[in-house]
């Protein structure tokens, strides 16, 4: 059982970690875009007065953090390579509050100097750039002019969000606005961190409040991650069922042998007037105690393993490249949910009780006279 809850914790931890990092690095629980922006992805469809909107949004019940970003598609080039990429105008302090951006730093330092940028780890690799390298980013501004900006790399970012790790160049939001010839308070996205319980109602409320904006939840923006979590739940259910079948067979085996061993005793008890129902209770209690003893031992072992995996994580740095390609962190932290232990407790109680059905049938069919005769 200890191993089972650890696997459950790791599976859940893996998917929750990916979801968490994606929310922190991009969407939050809810994101607002100018209508049509998500379809056409051009700066023409931008949000104006984003700063005022963010201030207003922060006052809404259920919203814990809010920020705005300015994003444009373009081409990042070095002397030897060029790759399609995005330029993301961010406010570093806002990002730190919104999604602990500092935790995504892989190399370099989180400090925008003049004409400097951070780069996603995957893009850095594709362009073969290091800290201090120069990158030219070219894009079309709001006036449809082709413009370029020379940037020196100050930091490499690994958010585990493939969208950004493979494509993003981060610069200060003000510089991005100047580069795109838009007002300083323009944005392509407003992202919100919300209390999860408020998310569905907030979406409806915000959509009504801002009809010119499109309001999306995380699940709508990243359906594949939501799907992955469902898949992990299925894996967990399958693992859970396999372990419970093993538990069932284990208890059944122990109880069956134990009952066969004492069949004469039960025959004697029945012959002198001990009611079958008391034998049934006795055996059920024995099976429950057996199951619960295993449960508490498993609970202890499981909590130990899970605590370690929650705080230290499972370090898979050896496979970091492959895992990061899938948007996963190379250190997987497990999650601990009370549901692992509660559902296991109920399953063990059910397995324990079911495991005595067959042995009890044997006792019920027992003819005390045969036991008495054979005892002679």
């Amino acid at each position: 059982m200890g191993v089972m809850v650890s696997i459950e914790g790791l599976y859940d931890g893996m998917s929750m970690n990916m979801i968490d990092r994606t929310k922190r690095s991009d969407s939050g629980e809810i994101s607002l875009y100018a209508n049509k922006y998500r379809l056409e992805h051009v700066i023409k469809y931008r949000i104006s007065d984003a700063d005022k909107k963010v201030l207003a949004l922060q006052k809404i019940t259920g919203v814990t953090e809010a920020l705005y970003r300015l994003e444009v598609d373009g081409l990042a080039q070095t002397a030897r390579k060029s790759k399609p990429s995005i330029l993301l105008g961010i406010d570093l302090d806002d990002e730190k509050k919104f999604g602990k951006f500092e935790e995504f730093l892989k190399e370099g330092e989180l400090d925008f100097g003049k004409n400097s940028a951070f780069i996603g780890g995957g893009l850095a690799k594709k362009l073969k750039v290091k800290i201090g390298s120069k990158v030219i980013f070219t894009a079309q501004d709001s006036q449809n002019e082709i413009k370029s900006i020379a940037l020196r790399i100050r930091a490499i970012i690994r958010s585990s969000n493939i969208n950004f790790d493979e494509r993003a160049l981060y610069i200060p939001r003000g510089e991005a606005a100047r580069f795109l010839s838009v007002k300083q308070n323009s944005a392509t996205q407003i992202a919100l961190r919300t209390d999860e319980t408020h998310t569905p109602t907030l979406q409806t409320t915000l959509q009504a409040k801002y009809p010119k904006l499109s309001v999306y939840t995380f699940a709508q923006l990243y359906p594949q991650l939501q799907q992955m979590q469902t898949m992990m739940d299925v894996f967990n259910t399958i693992t859970f069922m396999i372990v419970m079948i093993v538990v069932f067979i284990g208890i059944l085996g122990v109880m069956y042998v134990s009952i066969l061993d004492r069949i004469r005793e039960f025959g004697i008890l029945l012959s002198i007037g001990y009611a079958y129902r008391y034998i049934r209770y006795q055996i059920m209690i024995e099976a429950l105690l057996l199951g619960l003893a295993g449960y508490f031992l498993g609970l202890f072992v499981g909590l130990l393993i899970l605590s370690y995996l929650t705080y230290q994580g499972l370090d898979l740095t050896l496979f970091a490249e492959g895992m990061e390609a899938f948007g996963m962190s190379s250190v997987i932290y497990a999650s601990i949910k009370s549901s692992y232990f509660i559902s296991t407790l109920f399953a063990i109680i059910i397995a324990s009780l079911l495991s005595v059905v067959l042995p009890l049938r044997k006792i019920k069919k027992l003819n005390p006279v045969e036991v008495i005769r054979s005892a002679g």
Binding site: I268, S271, I272, G273, Y274, A275, I372, A375, G376
Partner: protein
């Protein structure tokens, strides 16, 4: 009162190896009787005793205990009758191997809900009478055949049942213990009106009782 009407018992009924163990038994045992079922080995004494004690089913006929037909009751109801009405002494003792002699003797009383003090007092009383008071802490496998037999007798009588059914109760006892057992049974029978039915071919037992029920090849000999 126990009444048997047209009781038949077949083993392997309908098979080539069918055995007609009890043949049209009509028998009445009055309340407070002290009787013995006597007959040669294999004549059906134990089968008849088991049938009366609703331990074994019968093929046809009726067994009536105090005016109530008991042969066709549910297993649960038969268990209740065995617990509250009947004390058994089995030929093979049938003590619970994991319980001490004291626990075995007090087992039925415990099932009936007596408290520890009552059980302890009664167990010591009976154990002293049957001279096994120094063996109360022993497990059955540490007792001789005779001692086990006395523990089995003590278990059957401890709860003061209305009926005591005993299958060869003196088979493993020496003469002095047989005498002590018979004296105790007679006391129970005379003072407390307990109906006692033995299956035995021990002459001492046969001579000590008031009524002898003779069986021959499963049939009553009149």
């Amino acid at each position: 009162m126990i009444q048997l009407k047209g009781v038949n018992k077949y083993f392997y009924q309908g098979e080539p190896r069918e055995v007609h163990a009890l043949r049209d038994i009509d028998l009445t045992i009055e309340k407070g009787e002290f009787s013995v079922i006597s007959g040669t080995s294999g004549c059906g004494k134990t089968t008849l005793l088991n049938a009366i004690g609703v331990l074994d089913s019968i093929s046809d006929g009726e067994i009536i205990l105090d005016g109530k037909e008991i042969a066709n009751l549910s297993a649960e109801a038969k268990t209740e009758i065995r617990l509250h009405e009947i004390g058994f002494v089995f030929q093979a003792y049938n003590l619970v191997p994991v319980l001490t002699a004291e626990e075995n003797i007090g087992l039925i009383m415990r099932m009936q809900g007596f408290d520890d003090a009552q059980i302890s007092q009664r167990v010591r009383e009976i154990a002293t009478l049957l001279q096994i008071d120094d063996k109360l802490d022993s497990l059955p496998n540490l007792l001789s055949g005779g001692q086990q037999q006395r523990v089995a007798v003590a278990r059957a009588v401890a709860s003061k049942p209305k009926i005591i059914l005993a299958d060869e109760p003196t088979a493993n006892l020496d003469s002095s213990n047989s005498k002590a057992l018979m004296n105790m049974m007679q006391t129970l029978n005379e003072k407390e009106g307990v109906t006692i039915l033995f299956a035995s071919h021990d002459n001492y037992v046969v001579e000590s009782v008031r009524r002898i029920i003779r069986l021959d090849d499963g049939a009553l000999v009149t």
